[in-house]
């Protein structure tokens, strides 16, 4: 079977080329911008081209026998130092192809949506240049043939995230949010780089100078010792907590909502933030052999899910609610891959990308329609003004809440059921609880925004449905959010688990069997909890909701449990203060002291000798007399 092809490089290269062209055009014409149509057209070429090549890859892989489904393309030796040999190359297997499919598909949709959303903006060209750059970087991340090439994409998506969060650069807070995202991600990247380094030194004798890519790593992974293996898994996971916003590094994602809404939909919901899950699944062969690392991943995931869901219940900003919801859903995904249910976790990435992109774009429509109002307590009754947005948002919310038969139900339930089947009943229990919270906050949003009476008459009057260029992507995503779950219909519903079967060659997974009865009971229970959540939201918020100031626990949750304040007080401020102290005190007075001291000593000695060099002839005459007499004494002695 021929595994080497020559078109993989086109997938990331097309959007990157688009980014370059758009960026150049914008840079040289930003004083009198070119027409938006031109930018829109050029911006669409890259994503659509990648989508076409992705479909070719998908079709080619399907032709291959399941156990050896992969395509590679090696471009050149990136660097080769001693035993370390890194090729610049790409690798497409079922796992990366699944990512390619939804990244290019949803990426293209959101590009289209952005044409409407960003119309009339000052930096239209720059926006699409960054967007193309992001898509290209994300595709490098997914397609890279080894951890080091993946890291190019890994960091580049972080850069794009920074650029797009701080897109409205004139506001100080936006740029600060961008900086925060970049720096927090860098903390994670430290873990990633160290993890890769430890992995390399653990394997380098087994690799024997062969390329440091997934195929070779997987082949020699058994030579990794216990301690090193565990360290690799945990360090890489630290990288994942940065990129995918998990405890303790989740704090950047809610702030990242400062960027334009399509950015939040694409980067901070559907694609980039799932990179950590992808990475854990990519290294499933390591995590499967170090169950302790898997447990850490699962627990961090489920606790993040819980924390973010609680915070999400009390937010007022429509985008913040969705942001915390994303953090929470990412927690689910990590719980899935943590309990070694890799395909379930990845399947949730897949379905989540549809319904969360849908919810964000729907929220974008609301914000667009209300002329940049984001407080859900100032909305209400929008159902009549924006019926289409209402329908798609309800579909999105049902999918997010995990109500059958919408997409989220199948993927979330698969994770929860696998946790139970593998004996992690505590994780299962928390997961079910989080499902209830999720249902509650998503329908709180729906009821407050679309139902009841309008609470802000002025913005209600102006509200309108967005243009078709924005609604068509919404409809397509809504269809996806409704039916994506059926791609992986479990055998319980007489399905054939298509996605899991497709992913099987990429992942090292042992399926646990539990009885049909357990599966059925667990499912009914989680549906009941979801219904309870929706019901409670309906009771509280559907009619005459009261916007009263929160107290006690709710107040704490609204203020995000003061985690940001804690980081600020104990890390950021001391860091800055230390910087000032160094330049104002330590550097001049302590480190430079020996030098200054020496200079001072010379000064003192100079003063001392100056006394003898008075410049008066009579003084020198005395010296001469003294000298001559001493000399004559000395001479007379020696004679």
């Amino acid at each position: 079977m021929e595994h080497t092809v020559n078109y993989l490089v086109c997938i990331p290269l097309l959007p990157l080329a688009g980014a370059f062209v758009l960026g150049m055009m914008h840079m040289f014409t930003c004083k009198n911008p070119l027409p938006e149509k031109l930018y829109s057209f050029l911006a669409m070429l890259g994503p659509l081209g990648s989508l076409i090549f992705t479909l070719i890859v998908f079709a080619t892989l399907r032709e291959m026998p399941a156990e050896s489904r992969y395509l590679t393309q090696d471009l050149f030796t990136w660097f080769s130092v001693g035993d370390l040999h890194v090729d610049m190359g790409f690798f497409a297997d079922p796992l990366s192809t699944l990512f390619l499919l939804f990244v290019t598909f949803i990426g293209s949709l959101i590009h289209i949506y952005s044409i409407g959303y960003m119309a009339g903006e000052e930096n239209f060209g720059k926006y699409f240049a960054y967007f193309n750059l992001f898509l290209g970087s994300m595709l490098i991340l997914v397609l890279g043939n080894g951890p080091v090439v993946m890291f190019i994409g890994w960091e580049a998506v972080g850069l794009c995230s920074y650029l797009l969060i701080s897109f409205y650069t004139k506001e100080r807070d936006n740029v600060l949010a961008g900086n925060k995202a970049f720096i927090v991600n860098r903390v994670g990247d430290l873990g990633f780089v160290l993890g890769v380094a430890v992995l390399f030194w653990g394997l380098h004798s087994a690799l024997g100078g062969a390329g440091f890519d997934y195929l070779n790593i997987k082949a020699s992974a058994s030579s990794l010792t216990g301690g090193a293996g565990l360290a690799v898994c945990l360090l890489l996971f630290l990288g994942a907590t940065g990129k995918s916003a998990q405890i303790p590094l989740y704090v950047w994602l809610p702030d990242a909502m400062a960027g334009p809404t399509p950015v939040s939909a694409l980067i901070h919901a559907a694609t980039m933030v799932t990179a950590g899950v992808y990475m854990v699944a990519r290294f499933s062969f390591l995590y499967a052999s170090f169950p302790l690392a898997g447990d850490v991943v699962a627990w961090v995931g489920i606790l993040t899910a819980l924390l973010a869901a609680i915070i999400g219940c009390f937010q007022r900003d429509i985008k913040k609610i969705l942001a915390y919801s994303t953090v929470s859903q990412l927690g689910y995904m990590f719980a899935g891959v943590g309990v070694a249910a890799y395909s379930a976790g990845i399947f949730h990435v897949f379905t989540h990308s549809f319904f969360k992109a849908l919810l964000f774009l729907g929220a974008g429509s609301v914000i667009y329609g209300l002329h940049h109002e984001q407080d859900i307590w100032k909305m209400g009754g929008l159902k009549k003004k924006m019926p289409l947005t209402w329908i798609v948002m309800v579909i999105g919310a049902l999918a997010l809440a995990g109500f059958p038969p919408f997409a989220g139900f199948f993927s979330k339930d698969e994770i929860l059921f696998m946790a139970l089947a593998k004996g992690h009943w505590m994780i299962w229990l928390i997961g079910v609880g989080v499902a209830g919270l999720t249902a509650f906050y998503s329908f709180r949003l729906i009821f407050l925004v679309f139902h009841g009476e309008p609470r802000d008459q002025k913005s209600y009057e102006k509200a309108h449905e967005p243009p078709p260029v924005m609604t068509i992507p919404l409809i397509i995503l809504a269809v996806g959010a409704t039916f994506a779950g059926f791609f992986n219909l479990p055998s319980f519903f007489a399905g054939d688990s298509m996605v899991s079967t497709w992913l099987a060659p990429s992942l090292l997974e042992h399926h646990s069997e539990a009885s049909r009865v357990t599966e059925g009971v667990a499912m009914v229970l989680s549906i009941a909890v979801v219904l309870l959540g929706i019901f409670y939201a309906w009771k509280t918020f559907a009619f005459k909701p009261q916007d009263k100031p929160l107290t006690g626990f709710a107040k704490w949750a609204e203020d995000k449990f003061y985690v940001d304040e804690f980081y600020n007080a104990f890390i950021v401020q001391p860091w800055i203060a230390f910087g000032r102290t160094i330049s104002n005190f330590i550097e001049p007075n302590i480190v430079d002291f020996p030098i200054k001291g020496t200079a001072w000593l010379y000064g003192v000695l100079g003063m001392l000798f100056k006394v003898f060099q008075a410049g008066y002839v009579r003084v020198y005459a005395i010296y001469m007399v003294i000298g001559l007499s001493l000399m004559s004494i000395f001479l007379s002695q020696s004679l």
Partner: protein, 501 residues
């Protein structure tokens, strides 16, 4: 004498520099300087292309000088010096292109500086090295002292006296090394290859080792010998800051690899952890200090010191990956931080201020400048795909092998850099436009084309680093093998080669 490319590279700038002083027309100095540096660039590039990674010392030129002491005027290039040489040859024309300083004297000094630096890099004889090493300081003294900022005089005195103190220590070390060789083999020589047979340790050798190390540590500078740096870099004219940070600091690292590693292998191995720690402290300390700065140039000065700490770490971790990383980073750092100094110089020329608080919103007025600055900044924080990543990654990887804990600390360079850089970028290029920035004009076509090659180089070095690594890696392999080889064996092999000659 001029049949060798290296002698041309050394003496052409020096002679041209002297002639410029006699040149009547003021503007001509800059043009002559530019063309001379362009010739040096072309020779340097040709030399790089002809260089064979596997072949050891090449382009050798040697002529006896003081035969009674075995001193010869010896030059040559190998994998260790190749990238340092290339950096000093390739980046120099930029200095003549972009800055508007008009004085003849200034350009004469710059040319002298280039010649002296190339001499120090190519020297294969310790005495020749020492002469050029000291000669480098002369133009620095004059350019800072005559053309620097308001606090130039104390800054000049500090850098001059500090470095000379270091060099004198080194001179003692050089004499000691040569006399050791004389004792052991009965002949006087200052030839590096032959002296490498020595593997000194114990007794006075320990002191001699420290003398060499301190001389280089001051030049690099390694914490806590860095206190001359912020003042000198800040007060120096932009071209001098560029030369200091992009090239001269690297000659310190080069010297450490070239002399200390082979001469004092056992001493170096036993002290490595200590110096590695100093590197880490310097990297973090200077990185944090950079945050507190209000003057961009001073911030860059600390940033540069922080990066030099990382490069020193790579040398001290003593394996193929980390040492290759350091050598690569030497060139990469010149393309990022070095160029940032020039950008700040341009900014100062136009706005007459370097105060971060007075700036803001430059990106709206000058998109090309902002983009170029951002590229250099991202290279400086080590974004993959730019020149900064490869070196940093290899250094961290190598240090992890040396010690997991020290590797972890070295990794903090990833975080330290972005903190001050992004915050500075925000306040200078983003946010609301300040009154000062309204005077700013974007890069002219000429300036943009002068910087364009460096921008391209940043990406080429990030995407195709193997072009460079393949030429230096064999030499590094050999250097590391020699470092760990038992001393006795080396002496024997060397004696054989000596008798062969």
């Amino acid at each position: 004498m001029f049949e060798s490319a290296l002698t041309v590279m050394i003496f052409l700038p020096i002679v041209a520099g002297a002639l410029i002083l006699l040149c009547p027309a003021k503007g001509a100095a800059r043009i002559i300087g530019f063309f001379v540096s362009l010739i040096v660039l072309m020779i340097g590039v040709q030399l790089f292309i002809d260089f064979d990674g596997q072949a050891g010392m090449q382009f050798v030129y040697s002529t006896p000088w003081i035969s009674s002491l075995g001193i010869s005027f010896g030059l040559g290039v190998d994998g260790i010096s190749l990238l340092v040489l290339l950096t000093s040859a390739v980046l120099f024309p930029l200095v003549f292109c972009v800055l508007k300083e008009q004085s003849r004297n200034f350009y004469a000094n710059l040319l002298l500086c280039q010649g002296a630096m190339i001499g120090a890099i190519c020297a294969t004889d310790l005495v020749v090295f020492y002469i050029f090493w000291e000669l480098m300081l002369v133009p620095i003294f004059f350019t800072i002292g005559l053309y620097g900022g308001p606090g130039r005089l104390p800054a000049t005195l500090k850098i001059t006296i500090y470095t000379i103190a270091g060099s004198l220590l080194m001179l003692v070390g050089i004499i000691y090394v040569a006399s050791c060789y004389h004792q052991q083999f009965g002949v006087w020589t200052f030839n590096m290859a032959r002296l490498s047979a020595l593997s000194l340790s114990g007794g006075f050798a320990g002191w001699a080792f420290l003398m060499f190390m301190i001389a280089f540590a001051i030049k690099i500078p390694i914490f806590p010998f860095h206190t001359w740096l912020p003042d000198a870099y800040t007060e120096a004219p932009p071209a001098t800051s560029f030369v200091l940070s992009a090239i001269m600091a690297k000659i310190g690292v080069y010297g450490m690899i070239r002399f200390v590693l082979p001469f004092f292998a056992p001493e170096f191995i036993s002290w490595a952890t200590f110096f590695l720690f100093l590197g880490i402290i310097g990297m973090i300390y200077c990185g944090i200090a950079a945050i507190g700065q209000k003057d961009i140039k001073r911030m860059l000065a600390f940033s540069s010191a922080s990066h030099m700490g990382v490069i020193a770490i790579g040398v001290c971790a003593m394996n193929v990956q980390s040492l290759t990383g350091s050598l690569f980073q030497i060139a990469a750092h010149a393309t990022s931080t070095g160029v940032l100094f020039l950008f700040v110089g341009l900014m100062e020329e136009r706005l007459k201020t370097r105060n971060i608080d007075a700036l803001g919103g430059l990106a709206y007025r000058a998109p090309i400048f902002a983009t170029f600055f951002a590229v250099a900044m991202l290279a400086s924080v080590g974004l993959p795909g730019t020149s900064g990543f490869i070196g940093e990654f290899l250094i961290i990887l190598g240090t992890v092998k040396y010690s997991m804990f020290l590797g972890l600390l070295t990794g903090f360079t990833l975080i330290v850099g972005v903190c001050y850089m992004l915050w500075m970028f925000q306040r200078v290029f983003y946010e609301k436009e300040s009154e000062t920035t309204t005077r700013f004009t974007d890069l002219t076509a000429g300036e943009a084309f002068s910087f364009l090659p460096v921008m391209i180089l940043i990406f080429v070095m990030g995407i195709f680093p193997q072009l460079f690594i393949s030429k230096i890696e064999p030499a590094v392999q050999q250097q590391i093998a020699q470092l760990y080889a038992p001393a006795q064996q080396q002496v024997v092999t060397n004696e054989i080669s000596v008798t062969d000659k």
